[in-house]
């Protein structure tokens, strides 16, 4: 059974819808990638799933329940969201910031339990933030900050984690480290991840399922081998590429063709 289903969802801002009649299901476990060119509606779709934007039409179900009827707190106890853009965080320390991930599991008056403490500690270690714990958020680099955001999301003990372009402005060390953490958790604990990705090679390497969007609709879906073909990328991105197979991981790899080489 799918952990999350999007059924005939149309949504947008203002008057014009950005995504039209989108339907798909996210199977439990594994990494589910959403790819597509800028303006394809990936972030709009992401916002409807993360309960920030209400769908105009259609319904989104989490394990069968309409998410519009789930409280924000109950949803946050199951689903963590790592958005693409954030405003500069106030000067919390890293440890304070990660601890806020326990919010959906606590009452107004309850103090931090040993269990909360253990989970926060576990995720600080998982993202190698031990030496940063007392550092202030506004003194971190972009890569360090993204690791803290992920640690906070994982401290929610989610069953499903939603990430919008989690790696787009990071160096390769951080890109790989962040996706490796998700990939290991998905294998070891059955965490399901939905990741919006720009980098097609990263999508190919890490995602078990892919959905490719164009003009607010789903254009293709399936495994990386099914979705990432030369014809389809030309059609969706209007850019010719060559595709080979990565010999190590047996996944498609996209080679770019600079105009000067196309003569």
């Amino acid at each position: 059974m799918d952990i999350l289903t999007v059924e005939n969802v149309t949504a947008g801002y203002g008057k014009e819808p950005i995504i039209h009649d989108v339907t798909f299901g996210i199977p439990k476990g594994g990494i589910f990638g959403i790819i597509g060119p800028n303006g394809a509606g990936k972030t709009t779709l992401f916002k409807t799933i993360s309960k920030v934007l209400k769908p105009w039409k259609g319904v989104i179900r989490y394990v069968g329940n309409d998410i519009a009827k789930i409280s924000h707190k109950a949803y946050a106890a199951k689903v963590a969201v790592i958005p693409q853009f954030r405003t500069a965080p106030p000067p919390f320390t890293v440890e304070e910031f990660v601890s806020m991930g326990r919010y959906p599991h606590g009452g107004r008056l309850t103090r931090f339990t040993p269990e909360d403490r253990r989970i926060v500690e576990e995720n600080i270690r998982r993202l190698k933030l031990e030496h940063f714990r007392s550092k202030r958020m506004d003194n971190l680099s972009g890569g360090e900050m993204q690791r803290v955001f992920l640690a906070q999301g994982l401290a929610q003990s989610p069953e499903l984690i939603l990430m919008d372009e989690p790696t787009s402005h990071l160096d390769i060390t951080h890109k790989i480290r962040i996706l490796d953490v998700i990939s290991r958790l998905s294998r070891e604990t059955g965490l399901t991840a939905l990741i919006v990705l720009h980098d097609l090679n990263l999508a190919s390497a890490y995602c078990d399922f892919l959905v490719m969007m164009k003009h607010g609709r789903i254009h293709a879906r399936g495994s990386a081998n099914d979705v990432l073909t030369e014809e389809r990328i030309l059609e969706v991105y209007e850019t010719p590429v060559r595709i080979g197979e990565d010999p190590a991981i047996k996944k498609p790899h996209i080679f770019f063709l600079p105009q000067s080489s196309q003569k």
Binding site: K51, A76, P89, F92, M100, Y103, G106, R108
Partner: protein, 327 residues
């Protein structure tokens, strides 16, 4: 560890301010007599009246108003996510000023004046928050509408000034500067009533942490940001309204103390709120003592002292802090 130490220091600061405020005042009294009066609450005489009926209620008023303005400043800065926000940002003080000026013009004083002033505060809260809830305001629209409301109210005050007698204008201006010298009758129960409301703020510390990250992050972490913001803005505005009705528009505490406290105990509201309350209470009690003795036998409005001390202190702090620390 460090935090515990800071809290002990803040409590000592408050205690020292209270002792200083008991020992000094508009009238000079021998210290021995003050202590004797304190130890014998049932005695009689001038000293007894001065201590038990003037100084102690005044210290109490200064403490609560200081704590309230500082903690409301914390709330406004967190929710509006703006380091320049303070309790008066949404125009509460403008409404209060108009109410008080009208009361002075009509020759009303004491509790009825406080009531009219509080009604003015509520009017501006109702207009700003009402508009915000109807039109889904962003933080900056909210701030802008507060600023505009303040302008409208101050124009109305100017209009009243232009038709009022100079004596009334003088009384209004003194009131506008903020003073603890003549809190209206019944202000003690009003202040006592704010204590449970201030407890609501303390209980919302975790929510404020999330709100300070922005609306979307609050939703993602499980807080209904719109509801929580509405409730907290209303609560903080009402508390501010009571302070304005009791003691006029005391400047700067709600802006400066939160920044200072953030520096001492960090951005986590579970510590920031209580540390701001302590610092605000101690600071206002101290400022009030200074305002009474500086040009004795005359008394300065305490707002002059808080504005001066707070302003100078803040400039020094901004010059000393590294840019990244000014938040």
């Amino acid at each position: 560890m460090r935090r515990a130490f800071v809290f002990i220091l803040l409590v000592l600061f408050c205690a020292a301010s209270v002792i200083l405020a008991l020992l000094t005042g508009g009238t000079e009294l021998p210290a021995g007599e003050i202590i004797r009066t304190l130890l014998h609450p049932s005695s009689e005489g001038v000293t007894h009246t001065l201590i038990w009926e003037l100084r102690i209620p005044r210290i109490f008023t200064a403490g609560i108003v200081g704590a309230a303005l500082a903690s409301c400043g914390v709330v406004f800065q967190a929710i509006l996510r703006n380091p320049l926000a303070e309790p008066y940002t949404l125009g509460v003080s403008g409404g209060g000023a108009l109410g008080a000026t009208i009361a002075i013009l009509l020759g009303i004083s004491g509790l009825p004046m406080a009531a009219i002033c509080f009604a003015g505060c509520c009017l501006s809260i109702a207009i700003v928050l009402g508009a915000a809830s109807l039109k889904r305001f962003t933080d900056s629209t909210l701030i802008l509408s507060g600023v505009i409301m303040s302008f409208i109210f101050s124009s109305a005050v100017m209009f009243i000034f232009s038709v009022a007698s100079s004596r009334e204008v003088h009384a209004s201006i003194l009131w506008l500067m903020g003073s603890l010298s003549a809190p209206p009758q019944g202000s003690i129960p009003m202040l006592l009533a704010t204590l449970p409301i201030m407890a609501v703020l303390l209980l919302s510390a975790k929510d404020l942490n999330l709100l300070s990250l922005g609306d979307e992050s609050s939703y993602h972490l499980g807080l209904n940001a719109k509801k929580a913001k509405g409730l907290l803005l209303l609560t903080a505005s009402l508390i501010t309204g009571v302070c304005v009705a009791v003691s006029g528009i005391i400047a700067f505490i709600g802006l400066v103390i939160p920044h200072l406290a953030r520096r001492l105990t960090g951005a986590d509201h579970r510590y920031l709120l209580p540390s701001s309350m302590l610092a605000g209470a101690g600071f206002l009690i101290l400022s009030d003592s200074i305002s009474q003795v500086l040009i004795r036998p005359l008394e300065l409005p305490v707002g002059v002292i808080t504005g001066l001390v707070g302003g100078v202190f803040f400039v020094l702090y901004l010059l000393k802090a590294r840019p990244a620390e000014v938040v």
